[in-house]
Symmetry: none
Subunit: 252 residues, 2 copies
DNA sequence: GAATTGCAGTTGTATATACAAGTATATACA
DNA sequence: TGTATATACTTGTATATACAACTGCAATTC
């Protein structure tokens, strides 16, 4: 049979998964475009050498997942392209700057392992003073400072954090890539910056800044605790998202 | 068998659907609380008089739907109550204040129909000067001003807006109730308040405030354009939400 | 006491078989 | 021509059977 006959008795991937992958691959490669009529279950049985129930399960699940639609008595068809990301989109500051037509650069002001300060340890549920990664960066657009980012990272989640080259990839981008964040909390406030930050952001006196606190979770564990400071006159924090019937929504 | 033996050959509801309903009912009635160990497939086979594959399909689908979780070799369990709204939750400022233990009151500073200012008309896609509802309120917690809210409402979406009693229900709550918002955009910035707002919010000089702009859509039409001003030292804007595999997410 | 093994019970997957039910087309018939 | 019927093919569901894989615990062994 086509789906590799020499697998162990319980294949690493179940047969119905193989069938799903087979179908998804053809969809992705556009060999089967939207509304294309997928071969019937019996055809796939012959072609792939598995039983009809296995094909049925694969197609049924793909139908539940919105990749196919099925009409009893007629056939199975490739579903139209599903809307891209349903809700908000993660954008790194670098992407954001680029999309606004800017030129992004960043400077690493600090990158080290250190004992967790009391507040951070409490948030992360770690013993006070246990090692934690601490990074501070300034992001610029054409050399003009746009964001001051201070970040504490739980080493359990990103053990190789310190070895990264943050001139090539921002910490946000790296963490997004390696850690499947499952939850996030944001708090925004306005304040007058402390002198150190004010200097880094090249801000005049008496001008307010925006502070965005972000905590992320990977499963039950707190992965990062961040503090982003923006000069108010140069940057706004925006988001736009769709609202569906089931999922309620938004902010204050 | 328990699931009604006298059905026609192809029951209106498939047998596996009946099994799903049977399980869901017990979960809903709390007879099977969260983490309760559901009877094994074989037990349900005896109890319900259907084949194991049918029970298996029912439990498998419920597991996909997040109502159960299954551990191979161990058993099937009732999933913990799923967090209420999957993403952000709409909270009116009133609810927010109450949930923080405060006492909410509000004062209507302005409530009238007026010609749309140029900026608002452009945003809403209306001719300049066409009639629009304009409301300004101050929300207080124990008499202390917390939010200054200025709101423009598209009359096509909420024609009876002016007739509402905004001492009983806030404009946000009213609009949430009558208009099925499908999309929302938020922009946050920090700024020094203008004198009129500063006075209303009882803010000292040289203290920054948070400004949240919110635009909502009902289908293709812009429903409202709002500007909320918060005294920075008294209020933070927060949100927390979950992130799933398919749906990408969030903010900057 | 510690480590290993075996076993019972559970879920996970795969197959063959059967029939029900929906749809489209061809055919027969008036 | 128009209508009814047959039919072939499709998906949908249900069952019995079999074995794989995982877990927890008891029994055994060292």
């Amino acid at each position: 049979m086509i789906l590799d006959p020499h697998e162990p008795k319980r294949p690493r991937r179940a047969l119905y998964q193989e069938v799903k992958a087979y179908v998804l691959d053809l969809i992705k490669r556009q060999a089967w475009p939207p509304h294309y009529r997928v071969p019937s279950e019996n055809t796939l049985v012959e072609r792939l050498g598995v039983s009809r129930m296995t094909v049925n399960r694969a197609l049924r699940e793909l139908s539940h997942e919105g990749r196919l639609y099925r009409v009893q008595g007629v056939g199975t068809f490739v579903a139209a392209q599903k809307p891209q990301a349903a809700f908000l989109t993660v954008r790194s500051i670098a992407d954001e700057i680029k999309s606004r037509g800017g030129i992004h650069s960043s400077e690493v002001l600090l990158l080290q392992e250190e004992p967790a300060p009391e507040e951070i340890a409490a948030i992360m549920g770690l013993p006070e003073g246990s090692p934690i990664f601490h990074a501070v960066l300034v992001h610029r657009d054409r050399g003009v400072p746009i964001q001051y980012a201070e970040r504490f990272v739980n080493p359990a989640v990103a053990p190789e954090f310190l070895q990264q080259d943050f001139d090539r990839i921002t910490p946000s981008e790296y963490l997004l890539k390696i850690a499947p964040v499952t939850e996030a909390e944001h708090v925004v406030e306005a304040m007058m910056p402390d002198p150190a930050v004010r200097k880094r952001l090249h801000m005049p006196a008496h001008e307010p800044c925006l502070v965005l606190y972000r905590t992320t979770w990977v499963g039950p564990a707190v992965a990062t605790r961040n503090r982003f400071v923006y000069p108010a006159t140069r940057f706004r924090i925006g988001s736009r998202f769709r609202i569906t019937a089931d999922d309620a929504h938004l902010i204050i």
